[in-house]
Each structure stands twice: as structure tokens, then as C-alpha cells.
């Protein structure tokens, strides 16, 4: 099998043509809420630092967030409140419902490991019109990293929850972590998810992040071949919205039309993540719960003492600390990486957890999930 040649990202870009991703927008399109730090699983690759602690978000925090979100939402189509953990269902229906109650005219989204889902939960999800994303990594042999606290495989529990969703007619998307992308893997993986009944699938190549310190350096040709084969599988049966591959296809189409520069957002979405005690972390939810002598706890304020709108406006109008360093990093990506128009710059958390700072450029995550993705899709197109 011929290996796919991957262009070095750092090759000089004579003059960057990319005009997007300059500065941070003052109004987000969604917020991320951490209803509890607790997770009932103990997955090998998890990045969350407090997953064994049951710290629940007080309702007062949700009320404070909603005061701002309810002002933002009418002006932003599909404004979303994303409930993300820990495991958000571990907060319990009563508490999660109380946290959702203050929000008006928003879309609620829930990312869950599915293990606690049953008919009453499905009724709750329907009643609150929640869009559901579940986390599963494929058939049992590929979901082996998802285990309970006793180290036992969680696959059966996950599938039981998914069956509850199916039984109740609740649509769901899926997120799949792939720890070792390689040739020969993609076809069976895609077939599994097509059979699962999810309407959309996101592939997350495992990252070195948070408390997961395993290296994510991979063989470049193998990763690109994985993406190429995944493209082949999707093309044969495109019933599942395949996030990464379709995003790459959108970029390739825009490139052929000469409008690729229109794809990147003009400014970065601030993505406020509200931790369980009201602390606000912008731009990078993965930084929640961490601190660093140089950057502090990465928060830009607390909604219990300052309105969320003021926190976001101040941080985006006058970037300081790690955010200013990150924006310098985005600019460095723009000036040095030929994939910037597709990527928009290395993610903040990947820079920090791989390099220890924010003004660096290409990361292993960039290589695995951006560069080799695009090269893999391109390789498929050349060969078919």
C-alpha cells in the first residue's frame, strides 16, 4: 500500500492569504456548563482532573449565567447551552432540570457517556428538547478504554443507554475517540456507527491533554491512511454526518471555488465555559480545573460576582495573560502554516498541554486531526 506523503506544516508560507480568526468576538454562539465534576466512568484517556469528586453546580450559578445568555440568545440563531461534565447525567434529573430552568430560547445540548440513560431520562430529554451526543469508541474491542471505576468495560452499559434512546425515538450524535488511527480500522468503525443509528459522528484522535499525559505522537502516513479509508467508507454510504471528513470536503470545495478564505470565522468564538463554582474560562474548556504558576487558574472572572457579559467583553476587548499569548500563537500559525485556512490555528489546550505555553504553533493534535485529515481526504480523491 503506498503511503501518503504529508506536507510539513511549518513550510514557509510566503504571504498568508487568510483574513479570518483575528481577535475574539464579544458574543459567543454557545456556552458550556459543567453541572457536576463527577463522572461514573474512569476512561483511560480522560483529561478531567476532578472526575472522582461530586462537586455540583449551584443553581445560583446557572441563574447568573442565564441573565446574560437570555440577552444574547435572541440575536444568535441556535444559541446553545452545552451541558458537559464530568458526566452531566450524574448530576441527576432534578438538579439538571433546576440548572436548565433559568434559560430561555436556547438549544440545550448534552454530551453523555449514556450509561445512566433510561426511560425516565429519555422523558426528561424530550421534555427539555435536549439534543444528545453520546460517547462511544466503536465495537467492544475499540471501546475498551471506556471502563467503570472498577476497571470493568463500560460497553454494555453504554449500549443499554443507547437502546433507551432508540426505544424512545430520541436522535443522537456520537463522539468516538481513536487512540491509534491506522490502516484497516476505518471501514469497520464507520460501519459500526452507521448501524448504531447515530445521525452524526465526530472522530477525536486521542490527545495529550489534562491529566492524560500519554503522548499522541503518531505515524503520519498511518494516520493519513486512516482518514483516507474513512472517506472511502463514508462515500460508499454517507448516511452519517461525518464531522471531520465533511468539514475537509467543505474546505476542498471552497478552495476549488476560490472562496476558502470565507470559511474561517472572522473572529474566534469566546466559548465561555462555566465551571461548577461559576468560574469562566474562555476559548478552551479543557483548561477548566487546572492552574499554572504562570497563568493562574485560567479564569477570566466568576459569574457570581460579575455578569458574564462583562467578563467576556473585558477579556475580548483587552486580551491579557494566557489569552493574549494564545492570540499571538494564532497569528504565528497564520504566518507559518499552510494549513491555517483549514485549521484556524492550533487549539489553546493542545498548545498548553503539549508545549507548556500558548504562543507556539503546530501540535501533534494539528498533525493528527487537521493536517493528516486533509491529506487523507485529498489522497482518497486523487485515487478514486
Amino acid at each position: 500500500m503506498p503511503s501518503i506523503s504529508v506536507e510539513p506544516a511549518e513550510a514557509a508560507v510566503p504571504v498568508s492569504p487568510w483574513t479570518g480568526m483575528r481577535g475574539v468576538a464579544p458574543v459567543p454562539s454557545y456556552v458550556v456548563m459543567q453541572p457536576t465534576t463527577l463522572c461514573n466512568l474512569a476512561c483511560d484517556y480522560c483529561y478531567l482532573p476532578e472526575r472522582r469528586e461530586n462537586h455540583r453546580m449551584p443553581v445560583a450559578v446557572a441563574q447568573a449565567v442565564a441573565q446574560t445568555v437570555n440577552q444574547w440568545a435572541p440575536a444568535v440563531p441556535g444559541f446553545s447551552v452545552v451541558w458537559h461534565g464530568g458526566e452531566p447525567t450524574a448530576a441527576g434529573r432534578t438538579h439538571l432540570g433546576a440548572l436548565m430552568a433559568p434559560f430561555q430560547r436556547v438549544e440545550h445540548h448534552l454530551q453523555t457517556n449514556a450509561t445512566l440513560l433510561d426511560d425516565p431520562w429519555c422523558e426528561f430529554l424530550r421534555e427539555h428538547r435536549v439534543r444528545v451526543g453520546i460517547s462511544i469508541d466503536g465495537p467492544p474491542e475499540l471501546t475498551g478504554a471506556r471502563v467503570d471505576r472498577g476497571g470493568r468495560p463500560a460497553y454494555r452499559l453504554i449500549m443499554r443507554g443507547i437502546e433507551a434512546l432508540r426505544r424512545n425515538g430520541i436522535p443522537f450524535s456520537a463522539l468516538c475517540v481513536v487512540s491509534q488511527p491506522r490502516p484497516g480500522l476505518a471501514a469497520g468503525l464507520y460501519e459500526f456507527f452507521a448501524g448504531l443509528g447515530c445521525h452524526a459522528l465526530g472522530i477525536n484522535v486521542e490527545e495529550q491533554e489534562g491529566v492524560n499525559t500519554r503522548s499522541n505522537a503518531q505515524d503520519g502516513a498511518a494516520v493519513a491512511e486512516f482518514w483516507a479509508e474513512l472517506t472511502t467508507a463514508w462515500r460508499a454510504d454517507p448516511r452519517v454526518e461525518l464531522r471531520e471528513v465533511e468539514w475537509a470536503l467543505r474546505y476542498l470545495g471552497a478552495t476549488l471555488d476560490g472562496r476558502a478564505d470565507e470559511l474561517l470565522p472572522r473572529r474566534l468564538d469566546p466559548i465561555p465555559t462555566i465551571g461548577r463554582s461559576g468560574g469562566v474560562i474562555l476559548l478552551s474548556p479543557e483548561l477548566a480545573g487546572f492552574s499554572d504558576p504562570r497563568y493562574g487558574d485560567f479564569t477570566s472572572g466568576n459569574v457570581l460576582s460579575t455578569p458574564l457579559s462583562e467578563i467576556v467583553e473585558a477579556a475580548t476587548a483587552r486580551p491579557a495573560g494566557w489569552i493574549a499569548e494564545y492570540l499571538a500563537g494564532v497569528q504565528a500559525c497564520r504566518e507559518s502554516c499552510r494549513y491555517f485556512g483549514f485549521c484556524g490555528g492550533a487549539h489553546a489546550a493542545n498548545r498548553y498541554f503539549e508545549h507548556g505555553r500558548f504562543d507556539t504553533t503546530v501540535t501533534e493534535h494539528c498533525r493528527n486531526s487537521k493536517i493528516r485529515l486533509l491529506e487523507g481526504v485529498l489522497s482518497h480523491a486523487r485515487d478514486h
Binding site: Y30, Y47, E107, L175, E246, L256, G341
Partner: protein
């Protein structure tokens, strides 16, 4: 107008008709999905937006949680 360079775009355009054919197939898929929005989102919900609606935390493909 300043001159810009996009070597990646040059490679895409040089990759041959296979890229255009693949993109055309994808665009048909996206049109079909938009036409069957009611079956994909919540009943009575707004029209399905490819990319944005499946993964609101991810659609910009930058800085997203997992």
C-alpha cells in the same frame, strides 16, 4: 490588492478531477439532508444546519471540548 500565496490550494487544484467529483457528491448529500431536516432534528425544530447543528461545540472546528 496585495498578492497572496496559498500553496495548499494549488495542490488541491492540481489533484485532478477526483476532488471535484468527491465534492459534488458531498454537496448532493448536504442538499438531501437539508431537505429531510424534520427527520433528523427534534420534531418541530428549526431546519437542520449541516455542520452547526450536529456538534454546536465543534462546528467552527477550533477550540472545542470533547
Amino acid at each position: 490588492m496585495r498578492e497572496t500565496t496559498d500553496p495548499l490550494a494549488e495542490r488541491v487544484r492540481a489533484a485532478g478531477p477526483g476532488v471535484a467529483a468527491l465534492v459534488a457528491e458531498a454537496e448532493r448529500v448536504w442538499r438531501d439532508r437539508a431537505g429531510s431536516a424534520g427527520g433528523r432534528g427534534l420534531p418541530g425544530g428549526p431546519v437542520w444546519r449541516p455542520f452547526e447543528d450536529a456538534f454546536p461545540t465543534f462546528y467552527q472546528f477550533t477550540n472545542r471540548p470533547r
